[in-house]
Symmetry: C2
Subunit: 342 residues, 2 copies
DNA sequence: TTGAAAGCGCTAACAC
DNA sequence: GTGTTAGCGCTTTCAA
């Protein structure tokens, strides 16, 4: 079934049929009806490949992620897929195995396939930069969740500092005074921003708090290990840079016999599905995933309109605090019943 | 940069360049070298769209899933992406929101984009059948993880019955004698097969065991709710049809003050990342995800060779039991210290 | 408003 | 082994 068949069946030219079906130009009402009827009758389906070759636009968007198994990404992928599908675009998925070299290879494979645009969560702030910049010069590209150096491309992410501030305000309001922080080392923007925001905000609770921290990576294992380093200081709150760290911290605290939340509160970041399932359920910062996806799609369209020059837009979306059991009521600081001035 | 440019630069015809670069036919060693050098020098990148239009093969595979947020799928997607990328294919991702109508729409969108093949985890055994059968008539199609009625398409999945048998054997070996089962209702193949395998295997432990079960869905919430129904019967093992159910069961049992694993063992199925993080860590059945992906890719190639006729192949892969704390040593049945004959 | 015709970049017959 | 040629199905000038 090609345009030619429809043209033959409807008694007009291929060009006219194309115009009717693609809606490119005004066509006589009568002709249009005839053509549409013929197309319908023959079950005509346009050939996207031919259309792409001619119009130099495939209608596909490449989605490049560090690791689909990172539990924060599936919901994001889902929202992105829906947002793009709603505009009639298809999503080419690439998983980079958390490796910048693989990432560079995937990016060029997608470019070779003529994706119209790229949505990319960079593997690494520094090591991804070169490949990302090169790609951004070729197609509209929007960075998601993580940055990649200033001025490289448009980007959309949650406001990490605001999220951390929400956590600290909540801890302060519920009477916690000796927080500590388990974060991630390295230059990844989420790691740096959350860490910095903790240091800036925690001083208000306790002058010694900003120094009470340990930096590792965004994993459960690190959460467990870090507790062993920080617990001797007897914090009354463990602020974690993401939910995986918090899950590990929770586990280890329980093994050590600590009472969560009575003795010590634990908080996460991201609100991955695991957070609600932990025991006690994890207080955390929810990323506005659907909004992130919508905003990314919007930036993509805008960039397509503006051309590859023009300044980079950076969008920061406000997160939301989700209070659950892990930061519930603290036990009295002096549990023997004596009076304590608050 | 087109073939024409390379042809001009290397002094031979477009066709020859095509043959060298696509490796379609034997070419003189000398010519080949010249051509390759020219292509390299000019930074030639083949245009996949034009190639697809001409050769009627896009080199893309559609991957259709019920919901990427189902925690079992990300690892599978990752393995599939890697397996396909290794053969130079790109993956078009479609998420169906667990809805058969959306699934049908996504399938036809992918078909319109001329995917070479479809990898599909059906949303529903019955309601997906029509769209799947129609798609299978057009392109090679392999069903993954779940079935879709007999004879519809090639399929690859874990051997659910074998997995359940491993669980029951383990429970028997560790002295459990009053198992119960929390499963999922409906016709989904995993639900039916695991349920049936439990009924068949549990009778060996206890004649009453096959009847001690509750059927709901594959969710944490159902796991919690089912415990309330089954716990009054005082089982010494709760066999769950997947890890999410088991996570819910574990939660609720702890709320009820039950001692896991001392008083009651809990087992899951799939070995999603959550399983290792639960407390106590969950004994479960690990799906051979990488093998499933590899086998799916293999079936796809074979189907491409065989043509769309020919009998459907069904591959079942052996699962592996992962023993963790949730099925550890049982407490003595009579904890008051009196002698108990084993 | 419509039609004829020229390709998009590539592969695949078919000649030589 | 290599070149010539004819399209794949579509969009888009350019004329009418």
């Amino acid at each position: 079934m090609t345009l030619k068949d429809v043209a033959l069946a409807s008694g007009c030219s291929i060009a006219t049929v194309s115009r009717v079906l693609a809606g490119t130009r005004s066509v006589g009402a009568e002709t249009a009806r005839t053509v549409r009827a013929a197309a319908e009758r023959l079950g005509y389906r346009p050939n996207h490949v031919a259309r792409a070759l001619r119009s130099r636009s495939t209608g596909t968007v490449g989605l490049v992620l560090p690791q689909i198994t990172n539990p924060f990404f599936p919901t994001l992928v889902r929202e992105l897929e829906h947002a793009l599908h709603a505009e009639g675009r298809a999503v080419l998925l690439a998983d980079c195995d958390d490796d910048p070299a693989t990432e560079a290879a995937r990016i060029s494979a997608l470019l070779a396939r003529q994706v119209d645009a790229l949505l990319l969560i960079p593997v690494d702030e520094r090591h991804s930069r070169e490949a990302v910049a090169a790609a951004a010069a070729q197609v509209p590209l929007v960075l998601l969740d993580r940055g990649c150096g200033p001025g490289v491309a448009d980007s959309v992410a949650v406001d990490n500092a605001a999220g951390m501030a929400l956590v600290l305000a909540h801890l302060a309001a519920t009477g916690r005074r000796r927080p500590c922080f388990i974060g991630a080392a390295g230059t990844a923007s989420a790691a740096v921003e959350r860490h910095t925001a903790y240091e800036n905000g925690a001083a208000a609770l306790d002058p010694a708090a900003p120094g009470r921290l340990a930096l590792g990576d965004f994993s459960v294992e690190w959460g467990r290990a870090a507790v062993d380093r920080l617990w001797p200081a007897r914090p009354d709150a463990v602020v974690c840079a993401n939910d995986l760290i918090a899950a590990g911290a929770l586990q280890r605290l329980r093994q050590l016999g600590a009472d969560v939340p009575g003795e010590v509160a634990v908080t996460g970041f991201d609100d991955i599905p695991l957070a609600g399932l932990a025991d006690p359920a994890l207080t955390t910062v929810r990323q506005p995933v659907a909004d992130l996806a919508a905003e990314a799609a919007r930036l993509l369209s805008r960039r397509r309109a503006d051309g590859s020059s023009g300044p980079c837009h950076t969008v920061r979306l406000a997160p939301e605090l989700v209070v659950r059991a892990s930061s519930g009521a603290a036990a009295p600081a002096v549990p023997d019943g004596s009076f304590r001035a608050s």
